[in-house]
Symmetry: C2
Subunit: 110 residues, 2 copies
């Protein structure tokens, strides 16, 4: 479900989806000049295969648990934990439990 | 308390400080090429007076409640809520209760 028209200063809820998690989908929350924010929803056992984004990014686990593989490391994020990675670094994300996470990406201008 | 040497891929805890909140201080969590992440700690009634940063930024309330004033709006963020604002916009932040918040700032290159 998209959240349309989130504008500067609008309040956005990023609490755990909890009972709503099993039926939730990944959603773009906003895109500004400099930043893009998404809520990633991954059911247990599902992965985002290796991919990369241009700018540095932060992935913050909101609920459940995810494993982030990048640069030869496999890091597990529980709710309330985050990590950042540089732009251009291939990474994959696997849900160890039903999970949602906030992903904040810096948008690099050409 | 600073968290020194958080590097790409390092796991950072951003859970509520809870019992530790009254003695916590604001801290820079990391600064990458594109992004800067801070945990802001504000006791109830305290404010950051109007200020601005160059790049777009997100402020996410982790615990307590804060009021963000910018662009003629006064928005209250409870735990699990966030908003973004464009770079260059003067804003102030007031804690309505003892609060901590994550602030993610896009670093604009000259």
């Amino acid at each position: 479900m998209a959240i349309p028209h989130v504008r500067p200063g609008d309040v956005v809820d990023v609490l755990p989806l909890a009972a709503g998690l099993p039926v939730a989908r990944s959603v773009a929350l906003f895109k500004s000049d400099d930043l893009e924010l998404m809520r990633l929803v991954l059911p247990a056992g599902k992965s985002l295969p290796p991919h990369q984004v241009a700018g540095d990014f932060v992935i913050q686990c909101v609920e459940g648990a995810i494993e982030v593989a990048a640069q030869g490391r496999h890091q597990v994020l529980q709710a309330g934990q985050l990590l950042y990675l540089p732009g251009g670094v291939a990474h994959s994300v696997t849900a160890l439990q039903d999970a949602s996470a906030l992903v904040t990406v810096a948008l690099r201008k050409p």
